[in-house]
Symmetry: C2
Subunit: 221 residues, 2 copies
């Protein structure tokens, strides 16, 4: 007898929330650079924005929609490292070739700055260089938190942490909409779709979250 308890409040939450990366830095200089290249590109759901291995000839910023950044291993396994949303930058760390693939989850609009322009600006602008360093350092710290989370948390806790972080960056209040499917969440958290679905069930039954449809949730407690 070791099924999930269906009783209320049985799921221990909190106290171990991944130390949230501080509020997103302003990156004034970087933003200013993007303002010089206002052209927008649109991507339909599931379309590729940039492909692992291709020349990293630009950097991107998400204007709207959700982008998943992932790699595929030789066994066909996919790992989604992050979901990028409005205001997030993509591809800042790569120097020559993309070390990951970026795909549109829903309808996505991005701006891009040619790599050459970025490099030119970087050579002259000290503050921009510092912004980049902070950005990439935060990325590294985030990856290490993900490793820690994978090792020390069970599936429902990882999902809860994800939903919490996702909520802070998306909805200001009330319900949060999940633009991605269960498979995407599973590949992000390192589990199967079935486990993801069951983890949602655990969180609902324990009163940690409330859901109206499979893609809308609200944090409780």
């Amino acid at each position: 007898m070791f099924m999930h308890s269906k009783s209320e409040g049985s799921y221990v939450p909190a106290t171990r929330v991944v130390r949230a990366t501080k509020t997103s830095p302003l990156c004034e200089n970087l933003s200013a650079l993007f303002r010089k290249f206002p052209a927008e590109r649109h991507y339909q759901p599931q379309n590729t924005i940039l492909l692992h291995g291709d020349t990293a000839d630009a950097v991107y910023r998400v204007i709207s929609g959700t982008v998943r950044c992932c790699t595929i291993d030789e066994d066909g396994g996919r790992q989604i490292f992050s979901f990028q949303k409005k205001g997030d930058f993509i591809g800042m760390s790569d120097v020559d070739a993309w070390h990951f693939t970026a795909e549109a989850v829903d309808h996505v609009i991005v701006q891009s700055v040619p790599r050459a322009s970025l490099e030119q600006e970087l050579a002259m602008n000290f503050t921009l260089r510092m912004e980049m360093r902070y950005l990439i350092n935060r990325l590294l710290i985030k990856r290490e938190h993900q490793i820690l989370s994978l090792i020390s948390h069970k599936a429902p806790q990882r999902l809860l942490n994800f939903l919490r972080e996702f909520a802070t960056t998306r909805s200001s209040s009330g319900f949060t909409v999940l633009p991605m499917c269960r498979r995407d969440i599973a590949d992000h958290l390192g589990m199967t779709t079935e486990t993801t679905s069951r983890a949602f069930g655990v969180l609902k039954n324990s009163g940690a979250i409330e859901m109206t449809t499979p893609d809308k949730y609200r944090l409780l407690d």
Copy 2:
């Protein structure tokens, strides 16, 4: 009946080895900077080299010995992100405070460059900046490989990958000595000491490695 088979060659290896990060980059300018600060510091086993949260007022390079870089979560769980050895740099990514702790595994000798000197040099030296970017990008890619490995490989495979990578960076030929204990390896690979010990057993029985003492191994196949 689902114990490990004790028969020879039963353990499927290879084909999915984490794409090894290329041979370590030269980092000529960075090395030159370190040559200007030849003073060495010595650390006894288990001693702290730098502490998570302290001001990142220097960067380090390992002269000899092995350093473990780790973080401790609020439940006491420890995650060792990397073992740094001769020639490796430590603390290049942090801008203000250390986001991890570095400890000596065995007797360790390091050199250090004051942060201020690094920053001064960075401001003037384009090549040095590029070296730093490559270094940190490789670090990020390495972390993402670690995540992928955690998700898609079983314990013996993870251990084998670790032993392979460790061997390439340590011993040129023949046997490789493990300076760290099972607990350190376990905390690096995200498993328990018992599982680590059993994983060694699997690799030995499958003919993937050969061991004389618990801290000396040789890769076969």
